[in-house]
């Protein structure tokens, strides 16, 4: 009897270890769920990076299924992601819209000249207000926006070919079929 009760704490301890071991693997705590899923892109009035006198609004995001990609020149992983975005545009013709986040427009234009520009246009979000309304907390982040301008998916971090093919492509196909 005494021997058994000594083992109880050991079992409890082992149980906690197992629970935490699997519990901490369930989800990446760095990934916040998006609060804006299935909401329209929030209203904004911000300049176009390439045509500073042109004002872009949420209406400019409607019309077709698009990727809304938050990027910046200070973000090293954005360079890593850029090749994949270029590949996506060249192979699928998908409309990719940039949000140049907390950045210097001159540096951003030089960056695009250097690495190429697969984007349809870029929204200049110099003070990060649109990003905050979107619930963005880093770069890169990518949203799938349907033809009505409604946010259907958010990906935090680099869009790799694997992410695009396994996650985004089926979703985009569904959205295209539905509209």
């Amino acid at each position: 009897m005494a021997k058994q009760s000594v083992l109880i704490p050991v079992f409890v301890f082992a149980g906690i270890i197992v629970l935490l071991w699997f519990g901490f693997q369930l989800s990446d705590p760095h990934l916040l769920p998006s609060q804006k899923l299935n909401d329209p892109v929030p209203d904004f009035e911000l300049p176009n990076l390439m045509q500073a006198d042109q004002t872009l609004t949420a209406v400019d995001l409607t019309g077709e299924v698009s990727l809304l990609n938050v990027w910046a020149t200070w973000c090293p992983s954005c360079i890593a992601e850029h090749g994949e975005l270029t590949r996506i545009f060249e192979t699928t013709g998908l409309r990719i819209i940039g949000v140049n986040y907390n950045d210097d427009s001159k540096a951003a234009r030089a960056w695009l000249k250097r690495w190429g520009d697969p984007y349809a246009f870029h929204i200049v979000d110099e003070s990060g207000t649109l990003a905050i309304d979107l619930g963005v907390y880093g770069a890169p982040e990518t949203f799938v926006v349907d033809a009505d301008g409604v946010i259907r998916y958010r990906h935090v971090g680099v869009v790799t070919q694997k992410v695009f093919e396994e996650t985004l492509t089926p979703l985009i196909q569904n959205l295209k079929d539905a509209s």
Binding site: P29, L32, Q35, K36, N102, G128, A131, I132, G135
Partner: protein, 150 residues
């Protein structure tokens, strides 16, 4: 020589530690807004960091959100409205004090439950030890008597 350098750098680093906290020149319209601003940025969590509030983070998003908190306060928003603004964009994560929901009740009641389990274990253990200390079974008494009598 190199040991001294290491020491010097380490000491300098200690000096700079308070400087790691975010310091910005904010223009506050009055003292109440200032106090509410510091309260809010202490209770809102930086979305980029796992366990740092907005006040303690140098992440770009924390800087932007601090500026947003101040802007909302100057616009005349209440503390609750600022918190709702943040919640609508960043969800439960940004609130250091989670709301009561179907997902969070365990978080609130869990510690209480664990304390109750601990108390009941302690109670049953102390009860059983009391019993063994004072109570000898009939056969124990018999064998003890045999030993003494021998």
């Amino acid at each position: 020589m190199s040991g001294r350098w290491v020491l010097a750098v380490a000491l300098l680093w200690c000096l700079s530690a308070p400087g790691l906290a975010a310091i910005e020149a904010q223009a506050f319209p009055d003292e109440t807004v200032k106090a509410r601003y510091y309260d809010l940025i202490a209770t809102l969590r930086c979305p980029q960091c796992l366990n740092t509030n907005l006040a303690g983070s140098d992440a770009m998003i924390a800087q932007n959100l601090r500026a947003t908190v101040l802007r909302l306060l100057i616009e005349g928003k209440s503390d609750a409205e600022v918190e709702r603004f943040m919640f609508e964009r960043y969800g439960d994560f940004i609130l250091y004090e989670p709301r009561w929901t179907a997902k969070t009740w365990l978080l609130w009641l869990g510690p209480l439950g664990l304390a109750l389990i601990g108390l009941s274990v302690w109670w049953s253990m102390s009860a059983s030890s009391r019993k063994t200390r004072h109570g000898l079974s009939e056969s124990d008494r018999a064998s003890l008597k045999r030993l003494i009598d021998r």
